[in-house]
Symmetry: C2
Subunit: 153 residues, 2 copies
């Protein structure tokens, strides 16, 4: 199977990765969440080569994750903003950030802080179950296929 065909897998993770699983894409979205909107700024922040950046922005717009909006005319200038679909990727970014903080950051400590606007506190978000309210970790949970699949023996 080639990478461009992974969206054919009957799996939501594969579907998600077919949209955001390319090199640079998540890094570009990280910057979008940091209020970066313009091509030059994305280029400088993410460090992605210009051609790759142009391609990724196009693709993200095509997938409805970013919206391309005219902000100036003659010559036309565009900016890229997160759509609702894009904003919904926040938990993915935060989870990556938390994992990076815990396992990959050197002695300088975490470079980015996440603040809760409402209470002003620095937050360290974790997963919980909206129904029972309990905190969740990998070993507490079990993923199972709803449709028929060869079970792993």
């Amino acid at each position: 199977m080639r990478w461009s065909e992974i969206d054919q897998q009957d799996c939501s993770v594969a579907q998600a990765l077919s949209v955001v699983g390319d090199r640079w894409t998540m890094l570009i979205l990280r910057d979008a969440f940091m209020r970066v909107r313009r091509f030059e700024d994305f280029q400088e922040r993410s460090g992605a080569p210009r051609a790759v950046l142009a391609d990724r922005l196009e693709t993200l717009v095509g997938n409805g994750v970013l919206e391309k909006r005219l902000y100036s005319e003659r010559p036309d200038r565009f900016e890229y903003r997160l759509t609702e679909k894009g904003l919904d990727l926040w938990p993915v970014l935060i989870s990556l950030l938390r994992w990076g903080d815990k396992w990959e950051t050197g002695k300088q400590g975490p470079p980015v802080e996440v603040r809760h606007k409402a209470c002003g506190h620095t937050v360290h978000p974790e997963l919980a179950c909206p129904d029972c309210g309990e905190w969740l970790t990998a070993t507490d949970m079990e993923a199972t296929y709803r449709r028929n699949r060869t079970p792993v023996t």
Copy 2:
């Protein structure tokens, strides 16, 4: 900047992606969480080309995300298991799954269900703040650099 140098960025997301941001890597980890342990099974499930799979497994072992363990001798056979560091990637996978469920799944509905072992319920985990207990979404939060960076104007 080339992709192989993104771990030089002073950002935990970039650090995390330098480990799990390659093509196929997250898909392989998805399978690891579904109790896949052997090369042939990873190959069949993920669909990754054998050479790429071999490379990714090596790298994940090198980064301490998977552990390579001998399970049979003459000829030696190995299996790959998630370490504690690997298990900690669960929130990332779950967030991708939830996003895929919401935005990319067709009319068949989500193919995978996540059950809470303790209560037996199907759970739809979301991010919350362990301190104040509130549920968190992108618009409630604000990320800021602790170290000096050019602010985005």
